[in-house]
Symmetry: C2
Subunit: 210 residues, 2 copies
DNA sequence: TAGATTGTTAATCGATTAACAATC
DNA sequence: TAGATTGTTAATCGATTAACAATC
């Protein structure tokens, strides 16, 4: 699925990496940066960097100077939608779910985690000011707040059922941390985030390089 | 970086997704499966599926029958290195670090999390039988166990220092859950896993599709 | 001016798709 | 046999890279 803007998926995948790097440079007090410096640091070609940036930058880079770091950061953030607030909920308040509920870095990306839900009565309460509700209130709250995006972090055995329940309540995109395939109706977006798989991929990359 | 096997990165990225899907089908009692069924379920083309599978499958698919699910699962697992045991350590035993330490799904991918490390004295101890050591024992234990891969889950402000320390101790690949750019020497593999960024990407995908 | 850097146009490269013969 | 499915070869498509004119 490609965004209507004509920006390729490959570029879309690189934009957060630019942002991460540019923010680090900003922290060092850098004001302007050239495509070749970015390319060197990120192991890309300078032309690729310019092409990517030209797609999202509100102002062209200046010959002999490069790009304004501040403008670039702002442009990428806008482009990626980080300036727009979006409410999300968490299904499952186990270890991982609660760790996410506690995590404060979401705001920087425009994400507002409003609550978590769990079947277990002993999990009900709150974590750092964020409420954990019983799962039977999921539908009510999600509909009331008009939430369209949910994080799924329940045990693998409960994943499909929880997923169905989320979709039932109007969730249109699921970010699943459960390492199992989920059947979802057409039109519902699903993204699997499997830490173990990603880590294993890094392992075999390391093995292959030696 | 492409593996020496001549399998493209695109294919490498799809293999874990095949595995996830095939395991779900296996759970339903399916014995054989055709490329077109896989393609349909995973929103790919049947030819692409056959091309991917032909690269890793030890036995060709049979006309009119398809592929043996069991053989396929086994072949993909072998190819991705899940049958090979690899030791990993965790730097940082905060909420996320401890959640990972507790997580039991790593073994399925050949990953053996041997310990976590933390600067905070109150974190020292163990979680579900896995030890949490003070960070000053990092070097000693990592060298003794010859660990080459580490998970970084410390606060953003401590990330670069912790990263340096890991590399110092002989770690060659870092899976970073800290959402900051890290400077690493050439030859050290780094993979950023930023849950907030991935979730934000899903949000904008959803927005773009509506 | 000379030189560093930009953005663009054309060439290359690699991945996906289409077409089709082979097989059970 | 007929039909479903495979694997392969050729064509298409898209992304990356190379070459270069424009600019401060």
């Amino acid at each position: 699925m490609q965004s209507a803007t004509g920006v390729s998926q490959a570029t879309l995948d690189r934009l957060p990496a630019y942002l991460r790097y540019l923010q680090a440079e900003k922290g060092k007090g850098v004001k302007d940066i050239s495509s070749s410096v970015i390319a060197e640091a990120m192991q890309l070609s300078a032309v690729a960097v310019r092409k990517d940036l030209s797609l999202v930058s509100s102002r062209p880079g200046k010959p002999r100077i490069g790009f304004s770091l501040e403008t670039l950061i702002s442009d990428i953030e806008c482009f990626l939608g980080y300036r727009k607030r979006t409410n999300v909920v968490i299904m499952g308040a186990g270890n991982l779910g609660r760790a996410i509920l506690r995590y404060e870095g979401f705001e920087q990306y425009g994400l507002n985690v409003i609550a978590a839900f769990d079947v277990s009565a002993e999990k009900i309460g709150s974590v750092w000011g964020k409420p954990i509700y019983p799962v039977n209130r999921f539908d009510e709250i999600v509909r009331r707040e008009n939430v369209k995006i949910g994080i799924l972090s329940v045990p693998r055995s409960a994943a499909q059922e929880a997923c169905d329940r989320m979709i039932e309540a109007g969730i249109r995109a699921i970010y699943s941390l459960a390492p199992v395939h989920l059947d979802v109706p057409e039109g519902v977006h699903i993204k699997y985030e499997d830490l173990a798989t990603s880590l294993a991929a890094l392992c075999s990359e390391l093995t292959a390089s030696e």
